[in-house]
Amino acid sequence: MHETLQAFVKWLENTPWGVAVRGSSWMYPIIEWVHFSGLSVGLGSSVVVDLRLMGEGRRRMSAAQLSDSLFAWNWIGFCVAFLGGFLLFSADATTYVSNTGFCVKLGVLTPLALIWHVVVQKKTPAWTHAEEKSAIGKWAGLVEFLLWISVISASVYFLLTNAVTHP
């Protein structure tokens, strides 16, 4: 398992895109920007629905209406974030996988948050109808909110421990 992972990250680093991003002085921050821009749209559209499910803030739209109207951009945002993140990872894959914060983020927290997000998205119409009777939507929204904060915390952890430094 460990050897397969090592072989995979070595291969990833030596892909043309991995080599290009690592060797360039301007590409890394630009791709970071792409990653952050996608995240803003993806996370923004997820978290406003979570907060609405929790009953926080304005009630001009129901959670179901809000989720429905932001659906397309929600996934476009996440796809852009994934693409950016994949390129950043490719550039320094072996260094990243040696950092605990990064492994927790990509191996545990991000998959968990995404799976939870899909469940919340599927269930939001039902929870919106049951809003008065059941608190499950509130808790589910809170859990997704906290999961995304944990993903960002793990990311800040590996950024501040200087897992990867670029000239």
Partner: protein
């Protein structure tokens, strides 16, 4: 003035504590994604030509408090991060450019928010509305771009 801030006792504590600095960074990332995300989502909806059921005013009202709460948190946490190297940040061009872009972006967002109910009632989305929405997207994403460029250009952060 900024040098004094940087050397204040509480700022030094903040700069030396990896946990505090990390915590404030987490708040800054979370709130800036949330703030910029909600702004860009509204701008994208204004640009949405194919969407006949616009419900633009409702979406704007729903998102507005989120946007400014996110902005408030991003500003306070950003100021604290700035304080740890205040003298250096204040002296470099990319940081000044970032602040200028944010001021402009806030103005554009306020203009969009003030007019969005009117645009929603219009039979066709006014061209001015679309231009303002594009300008807002460019400015906010521009602020993030300058933000990520500060470290590689100046070595700060």
């Amino acid at each position: 003035m900024w040098e004094t801030l940087q050397h204040a006792e509480w700022v030094a504590t903040l700069a030396e504590s990896r946990w505090l600095y990390g915590l404030i960074s987490v708040v800054h990332y979370c709130s800036l994604f949330f703030c910029v995300g909600t702004i860009v989502l509204l701008d994208l909806r204004i640009l949405d030509i194919a969407n006949h059921n616009r419900a633009l005013a409702a979406l704007a009202e729903q998102l507005r408090p989120s946007t400014w709460i996110g902005f408030g948190f991003a500003m306070v946490s950003g100021f604290l991060l700035f304080a740890t190297e205040a003298g250096d940040y204040a002296a470099v061009t990319p940081f000044r450019v970032k602040m200028l872009i944010i001021v402009m972006a806030v103005i554009f967002t306020l203009i969009v928010q003030w007019n969005v109910a009117k645009w929603d009632r219009a039979p066709v989305m006014p061209i001015a509305a679309k231009l303002l929405a594009v300008a807002s997207i460019v400015l906010w994403l521009g602020a993030i771009l300058v933000g990520v460029e500060i470290a590689p250009i100046t070595g700060l952060g």
